[in-house]
């Protein structure tokens, strides 16, 4: 173990930036992300370490009860109830993983192993710990704890409880401080555990403000018992193999170039495989030949009729695919959840064919489903991430698992992904974002982002006095639905179109935007028009806050919106619903020199973004690659 420790992982940990001794202590991304990360359990629920995971601790349950309750109620996705209701039924099972105390314990044994690349673990590995401890004074710890936990956990109790909690935490961390001089391994281990206990205590206290401080004291011995050394060696040996494969994957991680639709031979090949017969659009836009441009609305009846003929396609997948095609499901989170739930159905109904291994066959199956989804509508980057997660989970199934065990484990993984990466992440984002809303603010939002809507509703619930400006654009006019929901809830709204954004920007104090994906050069890839709004806000010196779950972060880089994009139905452009007088283009759509371009996404340069609010905290766009690099691994670890 010790010999292996000296491998490449150590410098990696250091690169993260935790080691600089006089780093500004108030970097929200780091401080906030640290406990949150540790709360996402890298190992505790993985099949190997399941035996290790300690008993559930009651207070945490009511925490996550609360969380989930908050999460599910205001979800504004058009189909949220359909897709998120199942989550609620699952959440009790998942709760355990949200208790940071237990998850930390679970992950503690393999900490020293070379594979501790996940930053949450890395912080505590011996090599880096010295620097970490030296610079972190107790106050900083306290602030980071209370800051993060307050946001994650204190929900109904308002800022009043926040300050009460702070003091005991300081006391706790100070008591652990003198320990740092000692160097033996056992003591350092003990120190780490004490730290964690302190954190747990902090969390417990913040969760239930009234609870006495005696609680963490009770917990500490129990936790120590729960970490038996032999288990860690098992974990390590298991991880060794995992890591090698991970190295391979890392190489593979550089995203394969996307299908370029101006490459004729490849398009022909793809067509032969395709389930969806799509006829190419008549007037393709020259600039976008590399993107698929098909006639819209022609495939649906055809596919519907094929519903019973398609043998290999699972009905759940087929249904979701058709919903994508028809546009019934839109919005990054909704699409992702729908896809995952379809895959869950697939896995439940799956049985390994004879003489095939589950791992390979299921992966191949999922791949074919994914290509079907892609035919229905190009995948969003967040969906790509999700699929990568699922495939890595399948690949990492231990060979010892029976089929039913493997299926159960995968289903649980999917549930946990939905719950952690989407539902709970949204909650954390809401908590963070609400701190940025003051009384008297005028908040501008563009289109309809479900996270932003939850933020606005939550801030309204807290009694903050603010006004909302909803900027909308053709052809989808999603803002109208948002406007209706917000006005129905009693928020004061101003509605306008994107052209008027520079008129309305004078009175705006903050801009909240959703995002489809955040790329590792800080570019925000989002619904078309977001870049315009961000640009105008930048010109008027109004801060732009992007709200985006971390699972949507992607390591791809983009400089403009041309290279990678999606084209919507061009006919949506020529018709203006409700305006019969606008019919100039009715008879022109089949003219050769007339093209209609309905772009779906654009890339906002990072210079327009003041802050990205994500589940790891509030970060500047320059920190996106750090998150991608360090937490991107997590998909493979969960």
């Amino acid at each position: 173990m010790d010999a292996r420790r000296a491998t490449t992982t150590v410098p990696r940990v250091r690169q993260v930036g935790f080691f600089t001794p006089n780093a500004p202590p108030a970097q929200p991304s780091r401080t906030h992300s640290f406990p949150l990360d540790s709360s996402s359990p890298p190992l505790s629920n993985s099949p190997v370490n399941n035996s290790l995971s300690p008993v559930m601790i009651p207070p945490s349950r009511h925490l996550s009860d609360n969380l989930v309750h908050r999460a599910t109620s205001p979800l504004p996705v058009p189909e949220p109830s359909a897709f998120r209701r199942p989550i609620r039924s699952h959440h009790v099972a998942v709760v355990g993983s949200y208790n940071p105390t237990e998850s930390l314990l679970g992950s503690s044994p393999p900490l020293a192993s070379p594979s501790s690349r996940v930053i949450g673990d890395g912080e505590f590995s011996e090599e880096s710990s010295a620097g970490w401890f030296r610079r972190s004074n107790s106050a900083k710890f306290a602030s980071s704890f209370s800051g993060a936990f307050d946001l994650t956990s204190v929900m109904s109790s308002e800022a009043g409880g926040f300050h009460q909690v702070k003091k005991p935490v300081v006391a706790q961390t100070q008591s652990t401080k003198p320990l740092k001089e000692k160097t033996t391994k056992a003591e350092r281990r003990a120190l780490q555990e004490a730290q964690r206990a302190a954190k747990a205590a902090a969390k417990d206290m913040t969760v239930s403000v009234g609870v006495s401080t005696s609680k963490p004291v009770k917990q500490q011995p129990a936790q120590k018992k729960d970490a038996p050394p032999p288990a860690s060696s098992i974990a390590v040996s298991d991880r060794k193999g995992v890591e090698r494969s991970m190295e391979k994957e890392r190489r593979k991680d550089i995203p394969a170039p996307r299908m370029q639709f101006d490459d004729k031979s490849r398009v022909e090949k793809a067509k032969k495989r395709a389930v969806v017969n799509q006829s190419e659009a008549r007037n393709r836009v020259e600039l976008f030949r590399h993107l698929p441009q098909y006639e819209h609305g022609t495939q649906l009846p055809d596919l519907e009729s094929k519903f019973f003929q398609l043998d290999p396609m699972h009905p759940a997948v087929y249904k979701v695919g058709l919903q994508y095609l028809a546009g019934d499901i839109s919005g990054g989170n909704a699409r992702c959840i729908a896809m995952l739930q379809a895959f869950q159905e697939v896995i439940k109904d799956y049985s390994t064919p004879p003489e095939k291994s589950l791992t390979r066959d299921l992966t191949a199956k999922i791949s074919s489903f994914v290509s079907f989804f892609t035919e229905c509508r190009p995948l969003s980057m967040s969906m790509g991430n999700t699929i990568r997660f699922l495939k890595s989970r399948i690949a990492k199934l231990p060979l010892t698992f029976s089929e039913s065990e493997a299926k159960a484990s995968l289903c649980a993984d999917i549930d946990r992904f939905i719950n952690e990466k989407i539902v709970l992440a949204d909650n954390v984002i809401i908590r963070h974002a609400v701190t940025k809303i003051m009384d008297g603010d005028v908040l501008l939002t563009y289109g309809s982002s479900c996270v932003v809507e939850m933020i606005l509703l939550y801030a309204h619930e807290l009694g903050k006095q603010f006004r909302v400006v909803i900027v909308d654009s053709r052809p989808k006019l999603k803002g109208q639905a948002l406007l209706r929901r917000l006005v129905g809830k009693g928020l004061s709204c101003t509605y306008t179109h994107i052209n008027a954004v520079s008129y309305i920007m004078h009175e705006v104090t903050r801009v909240f935007l959703g995002s489809s994906s955040v790329l590792s050069n800080g570019t925000v890839y989002s619904r078309v028009g977001t870049a315009c709004v961000a640009m105008v806000a930048h010109a008027f010196h109004v801060p732009v806050l992007i709200c985006c779950e971390a699972y949507k972060f992607h390591e791809r880089v983009l400089l403009d919106s041309i290279c990678s994009n999606e084209l919507g139905d061009p006919d949506a452009l020529s018709k203006v619903p409700g305006r019969m007088d606008i019919n100039y283009l009715d008879d022109l759509t089949n003219k050769d020199n007339m093209q209609l371009l309905n772009l779906m996404y654009d890339a906002t340069p990072s210079e327009y973004v003041s802050m990205i609010i994500t589940d790891y905290g509030m970060i500047p766009p320059t920190s996106v690659p750090v998150i991608v690099r360090e937490y991107g691994r997590e998909y493979l670890w969960i």
Partner: protein
């Protein structure tokens, strides 16, 4: 009180125009400018001119009508521009007549010889006539390098002759009253006709310059609809340039659809995009060409809503932002808070169906104010730093030069048309 009656009839004409303006029946600054000029022409032709101070009478009449027209739609700056231009024309015609008359009088005085004045005084008046003209021109135009050079020799003479200048003017007026009465009015009407002609043909003159600006295989972005832009692009196409045009539709009026239709029927490669895709597409655009609603004296432009966004995006990508503007759109005013003061808020029905949101509109916040506001401005203001070039019928100009160009068209006395009313009050 002789002129009372014709003034009334011309006012009734003005009121017809006034209502059209208020109801925004007249669309586009060109049509407005033409109508205003035609109206003012008829005002001038109906105005009965007194024997003395004819120019003053004409100016008063035009001003009276102009005030009302401007008040009818203060946002439509073209009205004010034309009123000022007509006033300027009257002043200039008056001046040139005066100069000519003085010169003629001096000539006749010298040849007759039976006048009381001796030779010395004759010489003096010749000098004084030129000085009057020069000083009047100076009053009309702000000093430029050219006028400074012209005036150099005479500037010394002005103080000497200021008293005799008025004297000689009075004499000249008494000399050929009857011919001058007709001539001033006639000349002014002629000049206004020329102005109308200019307004009508400014497209052509701007379009002539198209080939100098549009090159082969360029990609051009425009937003909304402008006849000037249409003619400009078409002129470049006529000269065998092949290029691509992206048209942003310009919600909520969707004038871009109209422009796209026109361009397509004229055979240009046209792609219609949504307004929100402007930023996405601008990285591949070579030039943004737009029409203006009005050009302000500081070089800023009032443009259809949405173009400020386009201008910002163009600046970010270093794409030239070119504004086409006929000279009738040049406004001699410096804007203050133009986004609000020179804007027009249109009906919310263009954005939301009244029926659809009628239930939401009922939700009051308790203090009587409705929860839902719909903002639908018609114009944007693009500050001069975002404009790369103006192309007017007199050629291309920098935004920083607009103040000078404007000084050629307007006299400083007319910048505030409402002044008389302010004094009266």
């Amino acid at each position: 009180m002789l002129e009372q009656k014709p003034l009334l009839s011309s006012l009734s004409l003005a009121f017809a125009c006034f209502f059209d303006l208020r109801a925004s029946k007249i669309e586009g600054s060109q049509a407005t400018a033409r109508q205003t000029a035609e109206l003012l022409r008829s005002v001038i032709s109906q105005q009965r001119v007194p024997y003395t101070n004819q120019a003053g009478a004409l100016i008063d009449a035009v001003r009276a009508v102009g005030e009302q027209l401007i008040a009818a739609n203060p946002v439509e700056l073209a009205v004010g521009n034309i009123v000022r231009r007509v006033l300027h024309i009257i002043r200039e015609e008056d001046l040139s007549l005066t100069t000519a008359a003085i010169a003629g009088f001096n000539l006749s005085a010298a040849s007759d010889g039976d006048d009381d004045d001796d030779g010395e005084q004759d010489e003096h008046t010749v000098l004084s006539a030129a000085a009057v003209a020069a000083s009047a021109r100076n009053a009309l135009r702000p000093p430029s390098l050219q006028t400074l050079l012209e005036d150099m020799p005479e500037s010394v003479a002005i103080p000497h002759t200021s008293s005799s200048g008025g004297d000689s003017e009075g004499k000249s007026k008494s000399a050929d009253k009857s011919s001058r009465t007709r001539r001033l009015k006639h000349d002014v009407i002629e000049a206004v006709n020329e102005l109308i002609q200019d307004i009508n043909t400014c497209h052509e003159q701007i379009a002539e310059q198209a080939v100098e600006h549009i090159h082969q295989n360029e990609v051009i972005l425009t937003l909304g609809s402008s006849k000037t832009v249409l003619e400009f692009l078409y002129a470049a196409k006529e000269k065998k340039r092949s290029f691509r045009v992206f048209v942003a539709e310009g919600a909520p009026r969707y004038q871009g659809h109209l422009l796209a239709k026109e361009l397509v029927t004229r055979g240009l490669h046209t792609t219609l995009i949504t307004d929100s895709a402007v930023f996405a597409i601008i990285s591949r655009v070579n030039m943004v060409i737009v029409g203006a609603h009005a050009v302000m004296a500081n070089g800023g432009v009032i443009v259809p809503v949405g173009l400020n966004m386009v201008a910002l995006a163009a600046q970010k990508h270093a794409v030239p932002f070119v504004v086409l503007a006929g000279s009738h759109k040049l406004c001699p005013l410096y804007p203050h808070n133009p986004e609000v003061l020179l804007n027009e808020l249109r009906s919310p029905s263009e954005l939301l169906d009244f029926g659809e949101f009628s239930d939401c509109l009922d939700f009051g916040s308790g203090i009587g104010s409705p929860l839902l506001h719909v903002v639908n401005p018609a114009f944007d203001y693009v500050p001069p730093k975002l404009v790369s070039l103006f192309i007017t019928d007199t050629g291309g100009h920098n935004p920083s030069y607009m103040y000078r160009l404007i000084a050629d068209y307007y006299s400083a006395d007319d910048l505030v048309v409402r002044r008389r009313v302010a004094l009266g009050n």
